[in-house]
């Protein structure tokens, strides 16, 4: 019965290796490519991320219905919605300004980008600042807007998982369709050559 609940070095290295290998091949070590998502000219970030979410969510669902994985077997983030909203906003701003999110900064650094190393130093500084300010005030804000009923849409509001998967599937199709249209109407996805050359002026459409 899954999961194996393995917390060892080998599983960490294997999962991490595959994660980094796929992210680099997707182009996510390049800040030019990553930030082009917010300029709406390259939809790779959303296409890759939402495809992965639908595949993994569908896989988890299947493992559960065939009885290989019990319900509540995997970790679900607590529904602290204020904390999630503030954190999302700050990481979105950090992504637009710094060119990376925390995971992709590791990919950037190990594809040779020294600016990614600076981003990681920034990450650690931000962590120090948070720890320095941590106390009752921050804890109070972080505890706001918690959904008491549960952490998933199914537990909290009784929305069936299949309905959620269908909505996510439809959203995925919409991302590929409309994202593709916006890509064709602009400079389009950042290519590997452009990414390796580094951020800079791209030829006009």
């Amino acid at each position: 019965m899954f999961p194996f609940s393995d917390a060892g070095i080998i599983s960490g290295l294997i999962c991490g290796f595959l994660f980094g290998y796929v992210l680099e091949n997707a182009g996510f070590g390049s800040p030019a490519k990553l930030t082009a998502q917010f300029k709406l000219s390259d939809w790779s970030v959303f296409k890759v991320m939402f495809t992965a979410i639908v595949v993994a969510a569908g896989g988890l669902y299947l493992l559960r219905v065939v009885g290989l994985m019990p319900a509540d077997a995997v970790f679900v983030p607590t529904s602290l919605l204020m904390a999630a909203a503030i954190g999302g906003a700050l990481i979105g701003a950090g992504f637009a300004v710094g060119g990376y999110c925390p995971g992709t900064s590791v990919v950037g650094m190990f594809s040779g980008r020294m600016d990614a190393m600076v981003f990681i130093i920034g990450l650690m500084l931000g962590t120090f600042v948070f720890a320095g300010l941590y106390g009752p005030a921050i804890e109070t804000v972080m505890a706001l807007a918690e959904i008491q009923g549960g952490d998933t849409f199914t537990d909290a509001w009784g929305i069936p998982e299949l309905v959620l998967l269908a909505i996510m599937g439809a959203a995925l199709v919409a991302i590929f369709y409309f994202g593709g249209r916006l890509e064709r109407a602009s400079k389009g996805p950042v290519t590997a050559e452009e990414a390796v050359a580094g951020a800079g002026d791209r030829p006009p459409v």
Binding site: S5, G16, N25, A96, F176, T191, A199
Partner: protein, 178 residues
């Protein structure tokens, strides 16, 4: 002797990135494998937070042990000793191997060409600072909360992704980061 001497650097073969659908399918399967092996998803800031706590413990042990956030984290010995640290080391190796095999490894300060090195230094540091602080508020980042949380149909993950995208969209119009 017929060795051609050229002033231009050797042409490197740069392989294209994977198509987004293929990369997304692969990422989804890696994420699913991670859930099956460990019971949780992939992450990133779990490791940078532990590295920060470890640095604090090394530089200022008393203050770090007394700190309300780091204290509990360093109680059980070396904070680096955890699955997420190994996972991020794996990410580094995997990214290096992928970039190297595809001819995409290049030492550079990305963004220097577009906005200049001093300004890029500032945006990279500031961006990291915002993301580092934000990830502690949300107790997760784009990987741990956004990607992995959404795969478990967690409500917080979708709230995170919504504000992440909205603020990123606005901020990228106000500041040129790279």
């Amino acid at each position: 002797m017929s060795i051609a001497i050229s002033s231009s650097p050797p042409t490197r073969v740069i392989k294209p990135f994977w198509p987004p659908l293929a990369a997304g399918l692969a990422l989804g399967l890696v994420l699913l494998l991670t859930f099956v092996l460990t019971g949780h998803g992939l992450g990133a800031t779990g490791a940078s937070t532990r590295a920060t706590a470890w640095l604090g413990l090394t530089l200022a042990p008393v203050a770090t042990q007394a700190n309300a956030y780091f204290g509990p984290m360093v109680e059980g010995g070396n904070p680096l000793n955890s699955w997420i640290t190994w996972q991020v080391i794996g990410v580094a190796i995997g990214a290096f191997v992928a970039a190297f095999l595809a001819g995409r490894f290049r030492l550079q300060f990305d963004g220097s060409r577009s906005i200049g090195t001093p300004r890029r230094l500032t945006t990279a540091l500031l961006g990291g600072l915002l993301a580092g602080f934000g990830a502690r508020v949300a107790a997760g980042c784009t990987s741990g909360l956004g990607l992995s949380g959404a795969a478990t149909l967690g409500i917080a993950a979708f709230v995170f992704l919504a504000t992440f995208f909205a603020v990123g969209l606005i901020a990228s119009r106000m500041v040129r980061g790279v």
